[in-house]
């Protein structure tokens, strides 16, 4: 089974995302900040990462830049999931190595659509 690491400092958001992504056939791991997420990735690199931007300890973009510099760090599909919706900020996240980008608030349809575009689930599921 593929694994998706859900990184968000909100337990509620992690729970909502978990429910949606589990239905897409992923095993879910959770982290509350970038530092925790990095520990996960160094233990077992996930196939997908749903990544919040603004978090304590280590924010999403700092984590993403470090991840992409790790051995095997280029393999996970990273989908940023944040309230940031300014085009310049979105471009900044893509430059840092994000594959896709979700603006909060999201719903199940949006997550499924973004997972399909990233090739994580077949297009027909979308």
């Amino acid at each position: 089974m593929k694994t998706c690491l859900v990184v968000d400092d909100s337990r509620v958001i992690r729970k909502v995302a978990r429910r949606i992504i589990e239905d897409l056939g992923f095993e879910i791991a959770e982290a509350a900040d970038g530092m925790e997420a990095m520990a996960w990735c160094r233990t077992a690199m996930p196939e997908a990462i749903l990544l919040d931007w603004n978090m304590p300890v280590m924010d999403g973009l700092e984590f993403l830049r470090q991840l992409r510099a790790e051995p095997d760090g280029k393999t996970p599909v990273v989908i940023i999931c944040t309230v940031e919706n300014d085009p310049a900020r979105i471009a900044e996240a893509l430059d840092a190595g994000a594959n896709e980008y979700i603006m909060k608030p999201f719903d199940g349809d949006i997550i499924i659509s973004k997972f399909a575009q990233s090739g994580l689930v077949p297009e027909m599921a979308a």
Partner: protein
Amino acid sequence: MKPEDLEALRLLVQGRSGVVIDPAKTYLVETRLGPLARREGFATHTELFNAIRETRDDRLIWAAVEAMTSNETSFFRDKAAFDEFRGEILPRLAARKSGPIRIWSAACASGQEPYSLAMILAEESAKLEGAEVQLFASDLSDACVEKARSGLYTQFEIQRGLPIRSLLNHFEKEGEMWRISSRLMQMVRWRRINLLADLRPLGTFDVIFCRYAVASFDPASRKRVLEQMKGLLSPDGCLVLGLNETADDVGLFPLEGRPGVYCKTPGYKAAAA
């Protein structure tokens, strides 16, 4: 609403638009007619419907029909159909070098389909070698055409089916909404068209996208629309339907491996080679 009123509404919508409302989906009546009723100054959707019955006000009737037939959609819905358009259909038509390439997005709802086509046309423009492309879009609903023409979408709408890079390339943020670029907006010509009307004045088309529209029509209306569309297709033209929709019964030829894509002439893949 009383059952006989619901039945009368069903007949009204079917008579005007060809759309059959599934009796199991009568719960839609309140959610769809409710907002219209309030806009028109009625307390409830039942009051609105009573007024329609008493006055037979054509404007109100159409507003109700439009409200009942509006549909959700997304950008690049059924991505395979757009891949086919980008990778096969468009290059083949561009190589033809006779006359403009005419494309029609029929039943375009709030415009995601024609704008998806416009994005592809903009991205592939270098490969079109100066071929003239005319992109038309229509819907039964004035409200839909108006919204589509505005090119303005909510954050929810632009996250359905649209890759983030396409959003950055083709849209501008406007407050909490996103607006399609003026370049793409200017590529599309909009019209309100009832598919049950005589479509011949529209001229011929090389590509017609008409997805998830006729599937909800009564069988006679569905066939009439598909036959008319077949008549409008150029000899190397094709009709793109929804994934589960077919047009074999009107003499169009399915494209192998591409559910929903039908050609006027069989074997265009071989012809393109």
